[in-house]
Symmetry: C2
Subunit: 281 residues, 2 copies
């Protein structure tokens, strides 16, 4: 590899965070070791993997490896069919805030939830999201954990998140005030004709920038995301908009890929993330 | 069946058009006969099926069956990697206009196309769509065929249609003037937080109203649409918005369903469409 290219890759690596879903076969302990071994400075952690390892060992390992924790995935899932369900979601979200604080995460990523079981009331679900956020926010502020609303692609409106555009997420932030921001994920938002304007509007509310790619064809709604550069998203353009809005923090790679990247040696996946951050982001 | 329910179904049936993709195993001749046999008053025709049958025999059969042709599917696919590709698309669109006129279709449905091969320039593709429409429109006006831009779900932005919201389609109509309108398909648009407003804005530009349902889970991006009532879309609410905007024409059922409805006896599918139009639309 030419020296200049190697240098460019090393410089870019300093901005890399890997969401551990990208290396799904690895436990959290393995991910911490694997990312540190490759010189990746930051990680985003999933709660199920964290629970598997235990919070205290995770905190110790993360500290020893010197990794920044860019986010904890995930809070949210606010809408429910009844008050008991909504209360259970709030309780779980408070635990997520506590876990984020315990591992020193920079923020809690929120996948807000879709339609309650049996419901077709999308506007009502969106109201429940607003109300759940409003109820959770004082606690997150008190603990000192910023929350990032992640608008999800409209194909997840029914079952994962009824906040489907950055415009909606910005509206929620306007309504709710300090302590809440947005996660901009190119996979979910690249199609939006209003994206450039909404990124500018988000400004310093951008708490996370997630990258992967949209494959053509996409064979599965959930688990067929591509590595940056393998799809059709103009990621550098969107990164430019995000940086023009003032964001200068990590680029987080988050790839759900059951049939491709999850089948490979995670060390190879990490090496590919590092290289592609320099060449395709 | 109680008399009142049977009457409700019969009354609703007068508003039913079936898009022949819903009965994929049938040829156009079979679809014409099958729909007429069930008392369905209208059909939307696909060009490949029309070519298979031949335009003249189709015109004769459609006339004998007394079916209204609510639309011809489809024109569009404007963006291309080079001028020759764009010209070929325009030529094909002019043939589609001619075919729509020949079979007496009320309009030509446009799936506008996505990114050209090898391109990541979504804004550029959208410009190509505008330019293609602008170039085609005088011919369609001359022939007297209204064209309906069908915004497609954002999950098709890359490979099928880069017009992904009704707002975008309305903007195009504003720019292009008379002779062009929109097709409102609940499957593509149900998630849009701005939908009610954009339907009101579309007003008399609404040239077609398409129904099916969004299944949870959706197992395939293209071929796993649901029968009305089997999914999570509040279709009556959206139909109400469309009617409040002044639309009083046919409800067209369009279901791509490789593993379910396309596997069934098409007569059963038609009977189910008739019943569900009364109970779930």
């Amino acid at each position: 590899m030419p020296v200049e290219r190697a240098e460019a890759i090393a410089v870019n690596r300093e901005r890399l965070s890997i969401n551990q879903a990208t290396t799904m076969p690895w436990s959290l302990a393995q991910a911490i070791e694997g990312y540190a071994r490759a010189g990746v400075p930051a990680i985003s952690v999933w709660r199920d993997k964290l629970a598997e390892m235990g919070v205290e060992p995770a905190v110790r390992h993360l500290g020893e490896a010197g990794l920044v924790v860019t986010g904890l995935c995930r809070g949210g899932m606010f809408p429910a069919a009844d008050a008991a369900g909504r209360q259970a979601a709030l309780d779980d979200n408070r635990r997520a805030v506590d876990e984020a604080a315990a591992i020193g995460a920079r923020g809690l990523i929120l996948v807000v939830g879709g339609l309650p079981e049996g419901s077709k009331d999308l506007a009502g679900a969106r109201e429940q999201v607003h109300d759940g956020l409003a109820e959770l926010l004082p606690y997150a502020r008190e603990v000192g954990i910023p929350m990032a609303i992640e608008p999800l692609h409209p194909m997840y409106a029914a079952d994962r998140a009824c906040v489907n555009t950055l415009g909606q997420a910005n509206d929620l932030c306007d309504q709710l005030g300090p302590g809440i921001g947005v996660a901009v994920d190119v996979y979910h938002l690249w199609w939006d004709p209003d994206l450039e304007r909404q990124i500018a509007r988000a400004g310093e509310r951008i708490l996370a920038f997630h990258v992967c790619d949209w494959l053509v064809p996409t064979r599965d709604l959930l688990l067929d995301r591509g590595m940056m550069g393998d799809g059709v998203i103009d990621i550098p353009k969107i990164r430019g908009w995000v940086e023009a809005a003032g964001y200068r923090d990590f680029c987080e790679v988050e790839i759900f890929s059951e049939r491709n990247w999850w089948q490979r040696d995670p060390d190879e996946v990490v090496a590919t993330c590092i290289e592609r951050l320099a060449t395709a982001v």
